[in-house]
Amino acid sequence: MRGPQDYGGLPAGLVDPVKNEHEPTHWERRVDAIMLLLFDPKRRLARVDESRRMQEALGDDYHKYPYYERWLQAITWLLLEKGVFSQEELDKKREEVRARLEAERNG
């Protein structure tokens, strides 16, 4: 069965390499750095196959997520599954962070 990630050979549009090229944003670099650390030998909290399993679990939503948002969602689920933090801790922290970011953006 073809999963949502399995694009190989399907019809698709032009690659447009000029348009689809940008240096990573600061935010993307932060997500990338978090991933690098979680994958490293010191922590080994994530592996490529585990992360892919989580991304593929997105199902049809897979296509809707921009690349780094998909990775971020995958590692978040992985960290929850591994008990690094709980859903309650994440929800609480996220609410607090969101209020702070909104204040920053509006300020």
Binding site: G8, P17, N20, E21, H22, R30, K93, E96, L101
Partner: protein
């Protein structure tokens, strides 16, 4: 922590030297999730702010220029080239590159064969050598079509491979990463190793283009 490194992170260029700025903030959803995860990881002692800064710097240092040095060495040193083709992981160690936990497979372009690298399932890429993959490499259009109609895809990069050369497509995976060894351009026999690196672009090591031919 990003503010501190703002100027440094901005000092980046594309493979052809044009600076590109992209500092658009992500959605509040995405930014709040990333910030929450990062702060929880720090509070729990899983990662430190120093480690995070270090990781960003590590990624910054992994740029296609490193790959160009490896390819230029292979062009001037036959023994190194043979080692690179047979035991890629070991050969790149002399350039300070650690491929672990993945393996490196270097594929050589010849008069008969042109190689193209893709990852249809995700975005596997020799990041330890070339850095973060370009956005198009991670997008659906490239991933879908590179394996079905590689010559059309190549033409979208302005690369025309003559019909008498075979186009071989390599689908990367979680454990195995490919790097293309492009053909050394004609008219460069007396070029130094250092000068040769200027002809080797990121795209030529992915296989969507060939190395730059001087004067063209």
């Amino acid at each position: 922590m990003s503010e501190h490194h703002h100027d440094h992170l901005n000092a980046t260029h594309t493979h052809d030297g044009k600076p590109i700025q992209n500092d658009e903030p992500p959605s509040i959803e995405a930014e709040s999730l990333e910030t929450a995860v990062r702060e929880l990881l720090m509070e729990k002692g899983v990662i430190t702010a120093d480690e995070l800064r270090g990781a960003i710097e590590t990624q910054e240092q992994r740029r296609p220029e490193l790959g160009a040095k490896i390819i230029a060495r292979a062009w001037v040193d036959e023994d190194f080239k043979q080692k690179l083709l047979s035991h890629g992981d070991m050969a790149v160690r002399s350039f300070g590159v650690d491929m672990k936990p993945t393996e490196l497979c270097v594929v050589e372009n010849t008069e008969e064969v042109h190689n193209l690298v893709v990852c249809t399932l995700c975005s596997c890429y020799p990041r330890a050598i070339l850095g973060i993959p370009p956005a198009w490499y991670k997008r659906r259009d490239y991933r879908s079509r590179a394996v079905r109609e590689p010559r059309s895809v190549l033409s979208e990069f302005g690369t025309i491979i003559s019909e008498d050369r075979q186009v071989r497509v390599h689908d990367s995976n979680a454990d195995l990463r490919y790097l293309v060894l492009p053909r050394r351009p004609p008219g460069t026999d007396d070029w130094s190793e250092e000068d040769l690196t200027e002809l080797i672009t990121r795209d030529s090591m992915i296989g969507v283009s060939e190395a730059i031919t001087p004067g063209e």
